[in-house]
């Protein structure tokens, strides 16, 4: 589903964000992307989303080399990806319903289908009762769940989450991660960037470890816990 082939990213300032990264993520695979702050996690997610272009190498998303696509085609490809952010990125002047409906509006869904899909997504994250509320009046956990509802409403093939539990307590973090693991079972490829070692240890999934822009470890699911712990000790 996602394939990085010797991908490097160097910013115009000269900073080397990623260096010679190669990995492959399959359909229905849940993967953590970890590393310290500035290791290149967000840059890697941006490359998958096509928000940034790789300086070298090939980034393939759902069978397409994203580097070669035009901005319009890249935007269309982005619609098969559900993105969740640490800062939620919700529109403060729109209701919960309208925020979740945004990807469907972009895809041009009819009003009827849009309503049923948004309600289903809100129901999945347990926020159906606040559909008419404004995001600012809700808690951080609820806002994050709105972000997740918006990410899943278009039935994406890939979910990318950048520090989705960054501002949440551990109970809420577990709740959010449980939601992500449910999508894995539906065949969605989930990539979660996090530097929360406890969270990664608790879910023991495949883990990609980045350090200073280099992929220093690709740890399979069951061993993720120990490997990650080792990496954290090293740091």
């Amino acid at each position: 589903m996602i394939q990085f082939d010797r991908v490097s990213k160097r910013y115009p300032s000269g900073q080397q964000a990623l260096q010679n990264i190669s990995f492959e993520l399959d359909r229905g695979e849940f993967t953590f992307l970890t590393g310290h702050s500035g290791a290149g996690k967000s840059t890697l997610l941006k490359l998958v989303l096509g928000l940034d272009k790789a300086s070298a190498g090939i980034v393939t998303v759902a069978g397409h080399n994203i580097v070669q696509l035009t901005p319009e085609k890249t935007a269309a490809r982005r619609r098969i990806i559900g993105a969740v952010f640490q800062d939620h990125q919700l529109l403060s002047d729109r209701t919960v319903f309208d925020n979740v409906a945004l990807p469907l509006e972009i895809s041009g869904f009819s009003q009827r289908e849009l309503r049923s899909r948004v309600r289903a997504a809100l129901d999945k994250v347990g926020l159906l009762r606040v559909e008419k509320a404004m995001p600012a009046g809700l808690s951080g956990g609820q806002q994050q769940r709105i972000g997740i509802a918006r990410a899943i409403v278009n039935s994406p093939s890939i979910i990318l989450a950048d520090e989705p539990t960054g501002n949440l307590d551990s109970a809420l973090s577990n709740e959010i991660m449980d939601l992500f693991t449910q999508f894995k079972s539906l065949g969605v490829c989930v990539l979660v960037a996090s530097h929360d070692k406890h969270l990664i240890n608790r879910f023991s999934q495949r883990t990609l470890v980045l350090k200073d822009g280099n992929l220093i470890a690709d740890i399979p699911g069951e061993q993720g816990e120990t490997a990650c712990a080792k990496d954290q000790t090293k740091q």
């Binding site: 935007a75 990806i81 990125q89 895809s107």
Partner: protein, 316 residues
């Protein structure tokens, strides 16, 4: 299957346009005062060049009517006999530059004078007829250059003592027309720049106000057109409303000044010509031209400005 997919695609596109147009209209509802202020500014920007263009067209019709009705009167020497006067008149009729040449003999001129002036008795007691024979000439062309040449030729024709024409008035009005035409063109150009700047700055403010929204739309897969479409609808509706209002005010202004203008022209002894002439009018602009061009200009200037700004925000 392919047809169904195409139909769904078309429906999707229609849904997007429908939603964005409704959202744009709701923006007017949300900010009624600022929207109205912007529309009024655009309306005034459109009104001035429209009025000046109408003045130019009105003056053009005046110039045309003058040229069409321009007559030259050639006065013959008093000693020229009626037979010779008739020969000169017939010779002039053969000239290609002359449409008609009508002779008024000195006897006919005196008769006419006696009848119209009320001084018939005095005229009848005169020992000699003091009035010369004259030939009223209608030029075949309305070109002032050719008429000027014709006047000179007539002055040099044997038997003709003097030639009088309305050419001076025609030249004066023509000069006014040309000056006003230049003024109107410059005003239209300034208005175009003004209109582009107004909509450009409106788009600029709107893009910066909705910067966060555009960034989110970009991240979740919205294209440039998904971001720009609501702004374009807003600009189109503003332009349309401003065009419609400008036209209403334009018609009101034209109607108000039309009678005043005829009175004013009357002061220059031109009223009989204007009133009798069917070719003179103060032409009203086609409402479709004003409204459609306003809507299009606002749409285009918003497109250019918003496109560049959103590109800066999302693609860099």
């Amino acid at each position: 299957m392919k047809l169904r997919a195409q139909k769904t695609k078309q429906n999707n596109r229609f849904q997007k346009h429908f939603r964005d147009s409704l959202r744009s209209l709701r923006q007017f509802q949300k900010n009624p005062f600022s929207s109205l202020a912007a529309i009024l500014v655009v309306m005034l920007t459109l009104l001035f060049p429209s009025l000046s263009a109408t003045a130019v067209l009105g003056l053009k019709s005046l110039v045309d009517s003058f040229s069409k009705e321009l007559e030259l009167i050639a006065y013959l020497y008093p000693e020229i006999s009626e037979n010779k006067a008739l020969k000169i008149s017939k010779r002039l009729q053969l000239d290609k530059k002359i449409a008609t040449a009508e002779l008024t003999t000195s006897t006919a001129a005196l008769k006419e004078f006696s009848a119209l002036s009320g001084l018939g008795e005095i005229a009848a007691n005169l020992p000699n007829n003091p009035l010369p024979a004259s030939i009223t000439i209608t030029p075949a062309t309305s070109s002032t250059e050719i008429i000027e040449k014709l006047t000179i030729e007539l002055r040099n024709t044997s038997g003709i003592q003097s030639v009088e024409s309305d050419l001076l008035w025609s030249e004066r009005i023509n000069s006014w027309y040309q000056t006003l035409q230049v003024f109107s063109s410059i005003l239209s150009l300034f208005s175009l720049v003004g209109l582009t700047s107004i909509f450009g700055s409106m788009a600029y403010i709107e893009v910066h106000k909705r910067r966060e929204e555009f960034q989110i739309i970009h991240v979740i897969g919205g294209s440039m057109f998904d971001m720009i479409r609501p702004l374009l609808y807003s600009a189109f509706f503003s332009g349309f409303a401003a065009g419609a209002l400008a036209y209403t005010l334009y018609i009101y202004t034209i109607r108000s000044i039309k009678l005043q203008l005829i009175d004013f022209i009357g002061l220059y002894d031109l009223a009989p010509i204007l009133i009798s002439s069917t070719s003179f009018y103060l032409p009203s602009m086609n409402p479709a031209i004003l409204i459609i061009s306003a809507a299009f200009l606002s749409w285009a200037s918003s497109f250019i400005c918003a496109f560049c700004l959103i590109r800066q925000i999302t693609y860099k």
